[in-house]
């Protein structure tokens, strides 16, 4: 930019926009303006408008955000714990405290076996099947397939009648 170029452009624009510059602001444009200003002056400064207020609001917002995050973590973490795979032994102890002699056979099946025995619908073949069932369950546990507690109570294998 050269000084002469600037002066030339400056003069051209000053000349071209003269009529706008000299055009007065209409009186209506200021109608009631003074009263509005005095009214606004009387209004108390909003809390967030002051520097201290803005800083305080920022701190409060940060604290609330952290508190919210902490609360969220606190309510979401128990769910995660519930989904963590647990050892089968623990489940066995809880789910079958009354049947220490048949720890691998679900309570419902034992109950059914008793009923079938009373009805003479229980044979030695069935006993053998239970044996197979116990063996297969033991294998599953050893292979880590029995981590899901449901595997112990689910109808994976039902003795044939």
């Amino acid at each position: 930019m050269k000084e002469d170029d600037f002066k030339k452009t400056d003069q051209e624009l000053m000349e071209a926009l003269r009529h706008l510059r000299e055009k007065p602001l209409p009186k209506d444009a200021l109608k009631g303006f003074k009263d509005e200003v005095m009214k606004a002056v009387d209004q108390p400064l909003p809390f967030y408008g002051s520097g201290m207020g803005a800083a305080a609001a920022l701190i409060v917002a940060a604290v609330l955000m952290f508190a919210g995050a902490a609360w969220w973590l606190s309510i979401s973490s128990p769910k995660e714990v519930a989904n963590v795979p647990v050892k089968v032994e623990t489940v066995q102890t809880i789910s079958q405290p009354a049947q220490p002699e048949n720890p691998l056979v679900p309570e419902e099946i034992i109950h059914d076996m008793m009923i079938f025995s009373e009805l003479d619908a229980w044979t030695e073949e069935d006993e053998d099947t239970i044996g197979i069932l116990q063996d297969s369950l033991a294998e599953e546990i050893e292979l880590g397939l029995g981590e899901n507690p449901g595997a112990l109570t689910g109808p994976t294998t039902v003795p044939r009648l």
């Binding site: 930019m1 051209e12 071209a16 209506d28 444009a29 200021l30 606004a40």
Partner: protein, 205 residues
């Protein structure tokens, strides 16, 4: 004692009274400067409603900061500086709002509310119709929208307010050289935009 000096003394006395809590004195100050401040804001923003809002905010801030005003600088310079800074803030907020709004191509052509200049006359604009009824002003304000904030302020102060380079320099806290540079770049962009409408601007054809 010259007229200008007398006016200046009167102004200083009013400011002192306003500082002491004299609301009447502050009202007089508002009366003295309201036209200049609304006009300045209008020339930068291109919308009279926005200009009134910003000008009102400027006076309120001045009232609340009177205690911190140092008499070494001119009161008008201080008031102008506050107004220009508020105009810049206003434009920044408006730009952000426009950016955050979903794109609506039809609205822009029809004169959406987010535009710095309302392209369609509206009944609530009132006196603005008188101000921008000419196509010339419409084109200028529309072209000014493309200028960056500082260039826009400098351009408006120089060519729409008629302020001297030194005045602009003291209001914006820039050197005269920096003001010239802003004016030069703004002028080049405006010449391109307005050249076909104003051959006397030496516009690019």
């Amino acid at each position: 004692m010259s007229h200008a000096t007398a006016v200046n003394h009167q102004e200083v006395a009013l400011i002192e009274r306003a500082r002491g809590g004299d609301r009447g004195a502050f009202r007089e100050i508002v009366g003295i400067y309201e036209g200049q401040i609304v006009r300045l804001a209008y020339s930068v923003l291109g919308n009279l409603d926005d200009a009134r809002e910003v000008a009102q905010d400027a006076f309120v801030r001045v009232y609340r900061s009177l205690a911190s005003f140092k008499s070494q600088s001119r009161f008008s310079t201080w008031l102008y500086r506050i107004t220009v800074n508020l105009c810049k803030d206003f434009l920044r907020r408006k730009k952000t709002r426009r950016f955050l709004q979903p794109w609506n191509p039809g609205a822009e052509e029809e004169g959406d509310e987010t535009s710095v200049i309302d392209r369609e006359p509206s009944k609530d604009r009132g006196p603005l119709d008188h101000m921008i009824q000419s196509e010339t002003q419409h084109l200028i304000v529309t072209s000014m929208e493309t200028l960056p904030g500082q260039q826009r302020s400098v351009f408006a102060m120089r060519y729409l307010q008629g302020m001297s380079l030194e005045e602009i320099s003291s209001v914006l806290g820039l050197s005269v050289g920096a003001v010239k540079a802003h004016l030069w770049h703004a002028g080049q962009k405006m010449r391109k935009s307005l050249g076909q409408h104003f051959p006397e601007c030496g516009g690019v054809k």
